[in-house]
């Protein structure tokens, strides 16, 4: 590839994420968070009373819980003032719940997603797409053949209205209750948008569905909720992409994800997160897996100022399994604190966790993970592997796994390595005609390959391109 092309590609990708739009909102809540805020959001959405009650209860829990400050080495959250956040912005669109044709969107919003390449990806590789702008889903569409089979893919607000019973049963009840942590409580109070995915028994959705989340306004918070229910024997791959332009004030993203994996069902959840580097990214993601079900979490954390994200899986049924693959890349000023949690609560359950992290230019990565094997979870096994690559002496790479093993008939293994890029490897590549930068880039691409090969090709390319940009230090 010539350097001209490199340049083009780089400029292109950078512009794709970091452009700004003037915000034209139909409704924006005031900064800060009070019961009035909740009523305003709930009124604007015309929600049933039970949802309003849940929001108010979550708000109380949020106010009662202290900020997490005592985790060893955790990101500094002291500068993040919830009262400076605009919690809810409804963009000015006519169709509540999202249009199903991109051309029906206002030009500036359509232009945003065009630049992000979402309509293009939809044509080529996806079963369905949802796109969220600020607090609301503005576009939602799924191929007819899935609709015919009873697959539901709609925005979460609409699901509250149209599938009230099933949402009421599953929404922040026994998977991620608001009491789980302070930011889950915050999310429960002011969530807006997100996706509802329902896959009926024995249906295999063979192309991924995707949701894309975009924050445009300075100082806003995005709190989308994703609820995925995969019935017995079904299969679905959900992809989530996130980005925002960079502002001087901070933004907050605190999403909630709940996944119910039925008997013998298989759900893959992939995220490529490229929030701007003024964003605090504090999410709670959890899956409950029934007998012989399988959950896979694939996460690429590239953006944000600080990320705290530990997708967790509860293996409830015999023979259930989990696979976590995470990659974190922290550059200047970034603190990416990410990992995995797995609870083995039944016999014959299996989990594998593979974590790759890269820290550079003073960035900090931390793998923080918990594997818990309950008494009675016989013949369970877990394998955790963490590898970290460091570029310089200003960066930090931490690994903090926790293992709680209450059962003897188990196979538990944890391994971690940390190191720099081998001089010998670089030398070898240089003798083959690559310059120093290209050699490093190639080694990093190889380092994260186990992750990229799990993603559809478009996303693998995307991730690689983001890594290249980070390597050149050229991304805002």
């Amino acid at each position: 590839m010539s350097s001209d092309q490199d340049h083009l590609q780089q400029t292109d990708t950078e512009e794709r994420f970091d452009f700004k739009k003037d915000s034209e909102a139909a409704y924006a809540a005031d900064k800060g968070l009070t019961e009035d805020t909740i009523h305003a959001i709930s009124d604007d959405k015309d929600e049933p009373d039970w949802m309003r009650e849940r929001r108010l209860r979550a708000l109380k829990q949020f106010q009662a819980m202290p900020m997490p400050t005592d985790w060893p080495g955790q990101p500094d959250l002291s500068e993040m003032d919830i009262n400076e956040i605009v919690p809810y912005i409804r963009p000015d669109i006519e169709t509540r719940g999202g249009v199903d044709d991109w051309t029906d969107l206002p030009d500036d919003i359509k232009d945003t997603f065009d630049k992000l390449g979402i309509p293009e990806a939809e044509k080529n590789a996806l079963s369905g797409v949802g796109a969220q702008y600020e607090s609301e889903v503005v576009y939602q569409n799924m191929l007819e053949r899935w609709e015919d089979k009873g697959v539901i893919f709609m925005n979460m607000d609409q699901a509250v209205q149209e599938h009230e019973e099933i949402v009421k049963e599953h929404f922040m009840t026994n998977c991620v209750p608001p009491s789980d942590n302070k930011f889950a409580a915050l999310h429960g109070a002011i969530w807006s948008g997100g996706s509802f995915v329902y896959v009926p028994e024995d249906v295999t959705v063979d192309m991924p569905v995707q949701a894309y989340f975009r924050m445009n306004t300075e100082g806003m918070g995005q709190f989308e909720h994703t609820l995925i229910i995969a019935e017995e024997g079904s299969e679905v791959h959900y992809i989530e992409g996130c980005s925002a332009p960079k502002y001087s004030a901070f933004n907050l993203h605190s999403g909630g994800v709940e996944v119910f994996v039925g008997e013998n069902a298989h759900v893959q959840y992939s995220t490529v997160q490229n929030w701007s580097k003024n964003t605090y990214n504090l999410n709670t993601k959890r899956a409950l897996v029934e007998q012989d079900g399988r959950m896979e979490w694939i996460s690429g954390s590239m953006g944000s100022k600080a990320t705290m994200l530990y997708p967790s899986t509860v293996l409830k049924g015999r023979g259930a399994s989990d696979n976590h693959i995470t990659i974190a890349f922290a550059g200047e000023g970034q603190n990416i604190d990410t990992g995995a949690k797995v609870y083995h609560n039944a016999p014959d359950t299996k989990s594998t966790i593979e974590s790759k992290s890269i820290s550079k230019d003073g960035g900090r990565t931390n793998y923080r993970g918990l594997v818990h094997i309950a008494d009675g979870a016989e013949n369970s096994s877990t394998a955790v592997e963490c590898d970290a690559l460091m570029f310089d002496n200003e960066s930090t790479s931490d690994t903090m796994p926790y293992m709680e093993i209450n059962e003897s008939k188990v196979d538990v293994a944890h391994e971690a390595t940390v190191g720099k890029i081998g001089d010998e490897d670089i030398f070898y590549l240089q003798t083959r005609g690559l310059d120093d930068d290209d050699a490093k880039q190639m080694i990093v691409s190889g380092f994260i390959e186990p992750i990229t090969e799990e993603l559809p090709i478009e996303y693998a390319v995307e991730l690689n391109r983001l890594v290249e940009l980070e390597m050149e230090g050229s991304l805002g």
């Binding site: 002496n393 931490d398 709680e404 008939k409 188990v410 940390v418 190191g419």
Partner: protein, 415 residues
Amino acid sequence: MSATLKQGLTEETVRELSDARDEPEWLLERRLEALASLDDLDLPDVIQTPGRRWTNLTDLQFDSLVDPLNQSDETERVTAEGVEVLDFETALDEHEDLIREELGATLDPQSNYLTALSAALFTTGTLIYVPEGVDAEDVKIRTEMRSDSLFSHTLVVTEESASVTILEAIGDEGSPVTATGEDEGPAADDEGRYFSNLVEVAAGTNSNVQFGSLQDLSEDAYCYTLKHGIAGDHATINWIEGNFGTQITRSDVETELNGEGSESQIVGSFFGHEDQHFDVNARVWHNAEHTTADLVTRGVLDDTARSVYEGVQDVGRDAWDTSSYQRENTLMLSDESEADASPKLIIKNHDTEASHSATVGQVDQQDMFYMTSRGISPDQARNMLVEGFFVPVLEEIAVEEFRDDVEALVQERLA
């Protein structure tokens, strides 16, 4: 935090304790300083995960068991040529300046509540002073605890190019590892016993210390121990620890690699049964160039015993060319036991080769099958495999008597 001790813990108590031992004024001052700091200090950090605290340190019973003025022990010290191995009172007479300079210089008495309590109240202890160039082997200290509470302090100072291997054993009545091994002195009352031991090792340039410690207190006892060493240029500090006794033990073994080219190995072993609880921690800080660390812990759990392990490899900004390794293996003999582990890497310099691994599991079924197919009974096969499991630890022990003791204690527990 503040706690109420059995006999009340006042300045008068500390003065009385110090007066009775005819101590110099500066030592009394330090005891009082440690005492005064108690209000501002917390118990040592304990790992917490959502909804769980791995060890509850107030369960160590120090508040109900500590009886400062009634401490008693029987200690046997075996020295080696060229080394000073002295009980604390004699050491104060003969090397007051050295003690004044080194006591508390390596291990900060105000690290936490329990270290400060120990610094205020210790009544027994040993100075091991190895002068320049002396190469000494098999220093042995065997202490038998004879009171409800006992606070001990061990200070090891090695001068340039000195070398020493040490075994320090603690037990109480009836333990085979202590001075008399006989059932003498008052038995512990129903509430048990509290033993606190601080060990500091100041390893001078190019010196070499192997410090072995063996704990075989009775199973109604509670133990807190912190061992902290600082290695100078090209110095080596190797720790080997065996934990067999007590109801609950909290043990921290730590090395600061402050000297260029310094090295440390921290080897830990434990064998818990019934409802014993071991909270063992190994930590190393790489603060200089070309340093090497190797942390190895092997533990066996039977019945409802529980182990908690934290290993920390901390590589500082200036620690260029670091090598740091950690392995932790736990063998579970019973379904009712629990093993918690957290091996941590904290790396701030990229010129590092660091790794850690941890495993938990039961006796290898293929090994069992192989052995039983050779006509060995399942019980015997299991016992042989458990003994074999400890071999990597035994191999590191330099003091032969220590190795024999560990082997004997493992066999006794398997019997």
